[in-house]
Structures are given as structure tokens and as C-alpha cells.
């Protein structure tokens, strides 16, 4: 979710929308002046990130290498 530069420089979304990723989609909407939609995409990314952290935390509880 943090990878923006590589797809942006190499394919810019790909032929059509085949290599589109979330940050790239957000950047394109932002440039088209649809910043409210871009903001919503960002909120979705943050929510996915929080869910991922909570998943990792509960799955590795009381095991080796858990998040302190």
C-alpha cells in the first residue's frame, strides 16, 4: 500500500486499468479535482492498514516475535 513510485513510472496504470493500484488510483482522482473521492480512497487504505495490524497482533499473541 505504500508502493507508489514504481507502478507510476513504469506503466501509469497499465494499458487501460490493468496494473492499477490503490495509491495510483488515488493520485489520478486527485489530479482530476475529485479530491473527495481521493480522500475516501485514502480512508479505506488506512482502515485496511489498521485491520491488518489488529490481525497480526491477535494472531501472534504470546508467541515468539510478537509485537511487544
Amino acid at each position: 500500500m505504500k508502493t507508489f513510485e514504481l507502478p507510476f513510472v513504469m506503466t501509469n496504470g497499465g494499458p487501460g486499468t490493468t496494473t492499477q493500484i490503490l495509491p495510483l488510483l488515488m493520485y489520478k482522482k486527485f489530479l482530476n479535482n475529485e479530491s473527495s473521492l481521493a480522500n475516501a480512497i485514502g480512508f479505506t487504505m488506512v482502515t485496511i492498514g489498521i485491520i491488518a495490524i489488529l490481525l497480526v497482533k491477535t494472531l501472534t499473541k504470546n508467541k515468539e516475535g510478537s509485537l511487544e
Binding site: 495509491p23 486527485f30 479530491s35 480522500n39 485514502g42 487504505m45 492498514g49 491488518a52
Partner: protein
């Protein structure tokens, strides 16, 4: 090896002409063209971009190191909410910074710093802070508390203990995070594109991108500019590699 090959390819291609890059991609250049480097150095606004990038990196490193060391010193005193505040600060590492395009953009307009380098400085310091707190707190936990107590007995106030005793003791940790925080604004492209517009406030990454026109992409001069921008980074790494490696391995020894 897979990171070295593209670098060597870029350096070799920067000595070729545009046609030669496409026809004989992986061979040594037939004639070593210097014209690309002349184009790169004569690029309009390269010097300003260079100055802006160095200014942003240095100021960000300074601000983040100071704030992170103060935060980890405060977290060293074990009060009631220490763990919760620590987790709250650390959680910032996992947040995808791409999600904050719109809020940072609106913030930079509201604080009237839109086209200046101060917008970039504020954004990069905020992004780097959680990682710095993580590393510095782990380092400061190895400082025995008796030193602080003896300083208090000798009559130091809270802030004097920090500036006179803790800061000199944690210089290796601060140099470790300083190196990483110097590299991050140098490489950053997304926020540099969004938050700057004029030639006076661009960074290096954005000005490299301007070699790609709408119809013609001047790859050879772009590669030459990239090599010119790489040289300071490699130079700084050669100067500071001892501290980077010792900082990384000292953290590993503790764990």
C-alpha cells in the same frame, strides 16, 4: 546483485545516445557521449533543486532527531500511560502515507506554505517521527537509570539532564536514525510532486521527471541527471557507513 545491475546499466546508458539505448541496449557504448552530461548540468533549475533537496533533508533530520530524542526521554520515565503512548506513536509506522495526500495538501494551503519547501519539511518530519522514536527508545533503554538519578542528586533540572547527559550518550543512536532520515526526503517523489509547483521550490526527483515530455522522452539526459544526483548520496554513505553499520548491529546485539 539484482540491485547493482540496473545501476550499472543506468550509468552505462548515460553515455549513449538515445537511439543507441534502444538498438543495442546491453552493450558498452560505441562512443562515450559527454553531451548528455552537458545537457544534464545545463538543465534549467538543477542547482535550485539540488539546494532545495539538501535543505529539506538537513532541516528534516534536525527537527525529527530533536523531537524524537525528547519524546523517547520522556517515555523513559515510567509513568502511568507510558505503554499506551508508546504504541500510539509506533502505530504511525504501519500507516500508508499515500493515504494522506488530500489532508496534507489542504493543510499546506491553509497554513499558506503550499509552494514552499516548508510544506515538504513538515510532512517529511511527521512521516519519519515514529521510526525515529522506535529506534531511539530502544537505544535509550540501555542507558542505566543511575546516571539520571546521580545527575538529579548533583542538582540538574529535568531539561538540563536531557541536554547535558542523555544527548551526548545517545549520539550513536541519533546518528543511525539521522542517516535514514537524510535518505528519505531525497528519495521521496509523491509528496514532492503534489506540494510544489514553481521551479524555486522543486526537489531533485521532480526535476528528473521533467525530462519526460509529452511526445519525446530524452532517456539519455535523464540517466545522466540521475547519475549526477546519485553521487552525493554515495559520497555521504562512504562518509557515514561506519556509523550506519555500528548502529544497526548494536541494536541487534541487544535483542
Amino acid at each position: 546483485m539484482s540491485t547493482l545491475m540496473p545501476l550499472i546499466w543506468v550509468i552505462l546508458s548515460s553515455f549513449k545516445t538515445n537511439q543507441e539505448i534502444f538498438t543495442s541496449t546491453f552493450s558498452l557504448p560505441r562512443e562515450w557521449q559527454i553531451q548528455n552530461y552537458i545537457n544534464a548540468i545545463r538543465l534549467d533549475g538543477l542547482f535550485e533543486a539540488f539546494r532545495n533537496t539538501i535543505a529539506v533533508s538537513v532541516i528534516c533530520t534536525f527537527i525529527t532527531t530533536l523531537v524524537a530524542s525528547m519524546a523517547s526521554y520522556a517515555l523513559m520515565q515510567k509513568f502511568k500511560l507510558t505503554k499506551k503512548i508508546y504504541y500510539f506513536l509506533i502505530a504511525g509506522i504501519y500507516v500508508p502515507i499515500n493515504a494522506f495526500m488530500v489532508p496534507y495538501f489542504i493543510l499546506s494551503i491553509v497554513t499558506k506554505t503550499y509552494n514552499t519547501i516548508w510544506a515538504l519539511i513538515m510532512v517529511y518530519s511527521a512521516i519519519n517521527l515514529p521510526m525515529a522514536v522506535l529506534i531511539l527508545k530502544a537505544y535509550m533503554d540501555t542507558i542505566p537509570k543511575e546516571i539520571c538519578e546521580s545527575a538529579v542528586v548533583d542538582g540538574c533540572s529535568f531539561s538540563k539532564t536531557f541536554f547535558k547527559i542523555i544527548l551526548p550518550l545517545s549520539l550513536p543512536g541519533m546518528s543511525t536514525i539521522g542517516v535514514f532520515q537524510f535518505i528519505m526526503p531525497w528519495n521521496e517523489f509523491l509528496f514532492a510532486t503534489i506540494l510544489t509547483q514553481d521551479k524555486a521550490s522543486r526537489t531533485l526527483q521532480v526535476s528528473i521527471r521533467f525530462f519526460m515530455g509529452t511526445f519525446v522522452v530524452d532517456y539519455a539526459s535523464m540517466f545522466a541527471t540521475m547519475v549526477v544526483c546519485l553521487v552525493p548520496t554515495i559520497f555521504a554513505y562512504i562518509l557515514f557507513q561506519e556509523q550506519v553499520i555500528s548502529g544497526l548491529t548494536s541494536g541487534a546485539l541487544k535483542a
